[in-house]
């Protein structure tokens, strides 16, 4: 059993599960957006505004953004533990990724609810 402090999940299985569930959420969001874009003949600001104005879509967008950040946290953590061997560089990289992910979720929430 190897202990890790900067990984997102509590265990290997937890990380594995989050990565797969977040991938499904992202796929659904991307397909939804793609269908919306290609089925709307005149994609203007007002159409975008109407879409993002709905509370349901705000929540959906925030969940997708959170899924993206969680997915990136786990993925970049794995890459850093594979390729970044010096402890200081690895730690700085991992902390930056974590802070960026949290910041992106908060910033995204603020943007979605400002519409």
């Amino acid at each position: 059993m190897v202990k890790s402090v900067t990984s997102l999940g509590r265990s290997g299985l937890h990380d594995w599960m989050i990565q797969r569930v977040s991938a499904v959420v992202l796929a659904v969001y991307i397909v939804y957006l793609a269908v919306f874009i290609f089925s709307t003949p005149h994609l203007q600001f007002s159409v975008w505004h109407n879409l993002f104005e709905r509370t349901g879509f705000k929540v959906f967008s925030l969940i997708a953004l959170t899924a993206l950040c969680f997915h990136a946290w786990i993925g970049l953590w794995v890459i850093s533990t594979d390729y970044l061997k010096p402890l200081a560089i690895r730690m700085v990289f991992q902390v930056l990724v974590i802070i960026s992910c949290i910041a992106l979720i908060l910033w995204g929430a603020q943007i979605f609810w400002s519409v």
Binding site: S4, S11, W16
Partner: protein, 233 residues
């Protein structure tokens, strides 16, 4: 036939180098790579490699041939493509000399999975019996000869040989997890449920492609993952 062999003697060489050799082989005849290496050793007594049973059972002569790990004793020269056959030591492990690698990291991972039956139940009078169906579950697992061809072909093992158990160790872990006579299934699963030991497997499947015994460590890893999932949901 031409050979290019990895040479390194830490006592005399500053760094490893490839040395070319030529071997006369009768037209129409074939031999195993190990036989060719033994003939080359007769030419140059300094070439070092491990070998023992010469029939794919002991797992001593794992080498990297033309970029792919294999057991020299069961690799016919006729199966190797190219004008020159390149033989290197197994990748990812420290080289002791020429084709001989230090297997300590590999064995350390093997040791971690507790490769022996643990049964805390009351001891039976004669022996622990197993149904033919339960015995069948060990097929494709117990045959592993620990040659390290799979683990040293795995990029995840190259990057984290101290933390990732590796395909060979995980195949063996599943061999004991699934054994009906073992009572430590839960603690064995606990030991593997971190971000490295098992979950560093990214399904690259080099292990399956190189295993000289035709085993499937990726499938065994998948089974362990399913057991962890069953337990965790």
């Amino acid at each position: 036939m031409q050979f290019s062999i990895y040479r390194y003697d830490p006592d005399t060489d500053k760094k490893p180098y490839m040395k070319d050799y030529e071997l006369e082989i009768e037209t129409g005849s074939d031999m195993m790579l190990l036989d060719a290496l033994i003939l080359l050793k007769a030419q140059d007594a300094g070439i070092s490699f491990r070998r023992s049973c010469r029939e794919g059972v002991c797992g001593s002569d794992g080498v990297n041939v033309n970029g792919k790990n294999a057991l020299a004793c069961i690799t016919p020269l006729s199966s190797l493509k190219g004008k020159k056959i390149t033989v290197r030591p197994l990748p990812g492990l420290p080289v002791i000399r020429d084709l001989v690698v230090d297997m300590t990291q590999f064995y350390r991972q093997y040791e971690k999975i507790r490769p022996y039956l643990i049964n805390n139940d009351e001891q039976p009078v004669r022996e622990h019996l197993q149904t033919p169906q339960d015995r069948e579950k060990l097929d494709g697992l117990y045959e592993c000869i620990l040659c390290a061809c799979c683990s040293t072909a795995c990029p995840s093992f190259w990057w984290n040989p101290d933390k990732f158990i590796g395909p060979s160790g995980l195949l063996q872990a599943y061999r004991f997890i699934i054994d009906s006579r073992d009572t430590e299934t839960e603690s064995r699963l606990d030991d593997l449920d971190d971000a490295y030991s098992l979950f560093r497997c990214r399904g690259i499947m080099n292990c399956v492609s190189v295993c000289p015994k035709g085993l499937n460590p990726t499938q065994a890893i998948g089974h362990i993952r399913s057991m962890l999932l069953n337990r965790g949901l």
